[in-house]
Structures are given as C-alpha cells and as structure tokens.
Symmetry: C2
Subunit: 198 residues, 2 copies
DNA sequence: GTGGAACTTGACCGCTCGGTTAACTTTGGT
DNA sequence: ACCAAAGTTAACCGAGCGGTCAAGTTCCAC
C-alpha cells in the first residue's frame, strides 16, 4: 500500500510553519525535528542542512501561497482591479486566521525571510527574488487585462511594494485590519499607474 | 579634561551598524564587542544584555535617521509633495552609499528589525511601532500642509507602507534604483489620497 | 530467502552563544 | 592622601547550536 514515509514532508511542513512564525535564525533544527516528530539524523538524511531545508520550506510555502491565496484572489470571475482588491482582503483574512501562539500576526512568509536573509545569503536572496517575481506576475496579468498596452510590469512592482509594506506595517502594529483598509487605495494606485501618461 | 569613556557609545554604534547590516539574531555579542574594541564584561557593565543593547541601538539609529534623512528631506524649502519625493530619492542615495561589505543593500534598519523581531519580542515590536509612528508624523505633516482639512493620517500610513515595501523590494533585488524609480508614483499616491472624497 | 539500499535512531561532536564572576585599574570627591 | 564608585579585563560558565556517525531496522527487487 503506497504508504511511503512522509518524514520528509513532515520536516518541510514543520520548517515552513516555524520559519514563518519566528524567522530563520530564531528557530533551531532541534525544534523543527521535535515539531515534525523526527529525529535529527533523519533530517540530515533528507537534507544537506538547515539552509537546504529552508529552501524546500520556501518552495512549499510558495505552493501553499499560490494555491490558497494567489489563484483564488486572481480568479477571473471578477474584473481585474477587483481581483487586486480581493488579493488584499484575502491577505487580511489569512493573517487574521493564522496568528502565532502569542496572538501575533506572522507577516508575509517571503517578505520576512527576504528581510532577514537577503543580506546574509545571496542564494536565498535570489530564490526569494524569484518568488516576488511570480507574485508580481499575477498583478501584472491583471493590470495588463485592465489596461492593455500599458507598462503593466512597473505597475505590478508598485502594487507588490504596496502590498509588502502594508503587511509589514500590519505586523508591526499587530493589526491585520490595516491590510484590508489599504485595499481601496491599492486599487486606486493600480488605476492611477495604468492610466499614467508615461 | 572631559575625556569621559566613550565605551558605551562605541558599543551602541557597533551594535547599530551590525544589526542593520545583518540582523539581530545573526550577530553575536562577541562580534559586537570586537567591532567596538570593547571586552564583553564592559558590555554587561553598561547594558543588561543583548536585547537592552539593541534597544539603545534602535534609539541611536532613530536619531541618525531623523537627522540625516527625515529632517533634510522634509525641510520646508520645497512644497509638501516635493518633500515626499525627496524622501524617496534621499533614501535611494543612502542605500547606495551604505552597502554591506558584500555589496548588498541593507534595507530599512527599522523595517528589518520589525520583521525579524515583532513576532518574538513584544517590547521591541512596540518600540519599532513607535518609530514608524514618528516617521509617519513627518509624512502626515507634509500631507496636511498640502491638503489641509483632509485625513492626512491615513495618507501618511499609506505612504509609509509604500516606502517600506519599496525598500524591501530594493533589498530583495539588491538594486537601490528601484526606490528612486518609485518616488514619482509615491507623489501621485499622495496626491490621490489627499484629494479623495472620503 | 537473501542482499542491498533506504531509512531511522540515539549518542556524540566541536563550537559558539549569551551571560557571569572576581580581581584589577582608573577616576573623582572630600 | 584616601576611599569608594566606576570602569576594565580575562578567565570561565552551562546551554544550545548545527552537524556527524555507526549501528540498527525496514523495505523491496531478485
């Protein structure tokens, strides 16, 4: 019966959750192993080290983020700009439901790691850069559909920055409502750049 | 002759620079002591611990940020919205000149720490929240001058989010030019919210 | 059934972490 | 000149870090 070991998956899931909740350097491999109910030797059987596990965790986080947030938010049942609004609203809802044990908002899993690790690990920096590029792709597609022929790429980068900044502020204030409150201005920002002269 | 020991100040300066360059958890007290040319015992003579030193470093960073960036950027020699543009441009120039040894952009000293520590240390979270509030105050003042009677507070929060997100993206792409490129849209965002109906 | 790879386990490694201690030197008030 | 307080120094913690290893167990192809 295809009951292959799920050790590897448990490790990735535990690492994903712990890194998101508390950051890379604040979480030790022992803690990850305990959370995954896996002995440390097994971790080093499947992964070259903590950093390698982090790469796998980032990948898993991306798949989760794409399937649970990006794809639903940018589904084409709504007009383009309303998808962007929905992206912000769903981000707010997620952060509300996925708080830490201490009641603290976690923030963007990619933004958190990008801030903590970009200056220390070029490889991880590039990996997170790629993920931001993919998120930007969703925004760009919506903008292009809203205003064909315009420079959707730049507008997407602006909206991505606005989204990241909003989540960072929400985390710092520990108030996810801030994200939803910014949804309207995000849409206006999108409309503005899509109709700019340049 | 008033040659009081500057040990304490050297520690704060070293901690400020190292925490900004590589983050809180990635930097050890030994490294800080070496950089400050101070023995560890002296650190614990002046500070209760690493966290306490971090608080002092955040305070020093704030004074630097205020004097070198905020005050010059928001000087009233320019009209309100142009001060906001100058804030972005000066942020870009700063990040260009203050790169790490490895050529990597450091990012916002407060945003970095807020992302890394907000979920782990409520006290530090509140401290960084206060600093964001002060930065927002500068933006709010400019917005209020541009459009008296409007809700400058909300607009300031939006611009602060946009600024933080821009710096995060610049750090992740390791390209400070992105910040300057966003200056124009920041001004448009400011104009937009200052003339909104609500 | 047997052999070999995949996987698991727990003991163990060197190292660095944040922090402590006690003895010493300097400093400033009286 | 004296003394206490302030500051400095180097040796020293226990703990936890990321990582290793060799012996065991499970699993599957043949």
């Amino acid at each position: 019966m295809g009951k292959e070991s799920d050790t590897r998956e448990r490790l990735i899931r535990a690492a994903m959750n712990l890194f998101h909740a508390r950051g890379y350097n604040a979480v030790g491999v022992n803690e990850i192993c305990e959370a995954a109910n896996v002995k440390k030797g097994s971790l080093y059987h499947f992964f070259a080290g903590k950093r390698d596990l982090a790469l796998a965790a980032i990948d898993a986080q991306w798949e989760f983020f794409r399937d649970e947030l990006l794809e639903p938010a940018f589904a084409t049942d709504l007009p383009p700009l309303e998808r962007i609004r929905r992206f912000f609203i769903m981000t707010c809802a997620y952060h509300d439901s996925a708080r830490n044990e201490n009641g603290q908002i976690k923030g963007c899993p990619f933004g958190n790691l990008a801030m903590e690790l970009s200056a220390n690990d070029e490889g991880l920096r590039v990996e997170l850069e790629k993920i931001f590029g993919r998120i930007g792709g969703y925004l760009e597609k919506a903008l292009a559909e809203y205003s064909p022929g315009h420079d959707a790429r730049t507008g997407a980068e602006q909206l991505l920055a606005y989204h990241q900044g909003t989540v960072l502020l929400a985390k710092t204030h520990n108030d996810q409502q801030l994200i939803e409150a910014m949804a309207g201005s995000a849409v206006e920002l999108a409309r503005l750049t899509a109709t700019a002269t340049t």
